[in-house]
Symmetry: C2
Subunit: 245 residues, 2 copies
DNA sequence: ACTATTCTCGTACGTGGTACGGAATTAGGG
DNA sequence: CCCTAATTCCGTACCACGTACGAGAATAGT
């Protein structure tokens, strides 16, 4: 099914990966499917974290032998890319565009955030590996580009903005998740608080001491996300900027 | 030296990690040092990538037995945190503050970018693990907070801004590095171009087709970074925003 | 029926992190 | 000056992981 060869040197030819749905005419029928395997891997990652996604555990989830997975994905890295594109399908259909590109862009970011909160392994997965533009990812990218149509940005700049927004969402959600996991362990939170208090008391970090002593009105992650997003998008104005054509 | 116990449940007490320089009064003298081990790990990562940093290879670089490393760091995760703080030392002393907080913030981001380009594993390392605020990281954070002093932001918001800027730099540099590695392999670049051309030709992705067909004046990473940074920072204005105290 | 093709998966190898425990080294107390 | 407790050094070993290999099973065209 994958007909895995390719020109070596790390990575899979995207055409082989995404554009090969034709069943071969001879040979044994597949007992599983790429979608089922990917879904099992996603379920595992959602439930137990990305480190729980091992070839052995995925295989046992779908009832296959370990090595059978390699008929559907040439290696684990590819399986992770399949997972990313799989969950990106949840972004379709997106909210219809309003024509107000700032509002549309913000809606896109909020949708991405919601997706990442549903799949907490996603920010890390997105950050680490090279983007693999599967059909679902492409569909959402197309949507984002359409949202930017009222803009004076050229093609490359639009792609940059999309990358920027996605990265922004990934970072904020990663912080949010880390914070939540952290607060969930009172021991560790207390240890960190003690450490920061000790640092603040050493006299060499007056700004930090002041920042930590602030009343700290309760910041909900939602409000923080919305506020920073607003600031970012409202700055993403104008056309190509100083350097001319 | 590390006296590694701690209250279990994943992670090391920061006080144990960073605030324990007192030599014990009894026992064999250490043959190595945490700094030497960390430096060796950094050198390895710089030269051969983060995957080359294994306990075995680090040990052989410093001339130690593998298990001896565990006298200096309780586990590999901690060693990675030590690496991050180690290279953060290169950010000191920072450029003096000018009082123009926007300019100062941009200088901070540029310094971070330069650091990340020198240590290409750094963006990924920063993104994945929970922040561990070692002395060098704290010193730079202190500097960033001082830069934000002229601002009306409260303590929590200043910390958010620092996180945002750091995350921005990490993302852009990660893209930059990936792009470079990608272009270095003509086969893979050609394969990707062929794939995108095929997608653009399928008629379902008109916006993408247009974005790709644009003349695409050559974008240098430097210009892209500076431009997006300007947009971001110039939007990070004003005080706490809509939600009042 | 034969054959080419494709999928299945048990076995096995190499690599990684690190637990264990004994030997070596040091400082303080008798 | 030995004895004891503390600390570091590190060889051995275990387990988990990704995946190469190849033999056997199933399928479709001839």
């Amino acid at each position: 099914m994958v007909r895995g060869d390719g020109p070596g040197a790390g990575g899979v030819d995207p055409q082989q990966l995404w554009l090969n749905s034709d069943r071969p005419r001879k040979g044994r029928k597949p007992a599983f499917s790429r979608a089922a395997i990917t879904a099992a891997a996603v379920a595992l990652a959602d439930a137990e974290g990305i480190d729980a996604v091992t070839m052995r555990r995925v295989a046992s989830q779908v009832g296959a032998g370990v090595m059978s997975l390699y008929s559907y994905a040439p290696d684990k890295e590819t399986l992770l890319q399949l997972m990313v594109d799989h969950v990106s399908g949840e972004l379709s259909p997106p909210e219809p565009l309003t024509g107000d590109w700032r509002a549309d862009l913000k809606a896109i970011a909020h949708a991405q955030r919601a997706l990442m909160l549903r799949h907490p392994w996603l920010p890390t997965a997105l950050f680490n590996r090279r983007w693999s533009l599967g059909p679902n990812t492409l569909a959402f990218l197309e949507h984002a580009l359409a949202a930017l149509r009222p803009t004076a940005l050229d093609g490359g700049a639009k792609l940059e903005v999309f990358s920027l927004i996605t990265g922004f969402a990934a970072r904020l959600v990663a912080d949010e998740i880390a914070q939540a996991a952290f607060s969930a362990s009172p021991e560790r939170a207390a240890a960190e608080a003690r450490y920061l208090a000790a640092v603040a008391a050493d006299g060499h970090h007056p700004e930090l001491a002041e920042a930590l002593s602030a009343p700290a009105r309760p910041l909900t992650p939602d409000a923080t996300f919305a506020r920073l997003l607003d600031r970012m998008v409202d700055g993403l104005d104008a056309d190509s900027g100083p350097e001319g054509p």
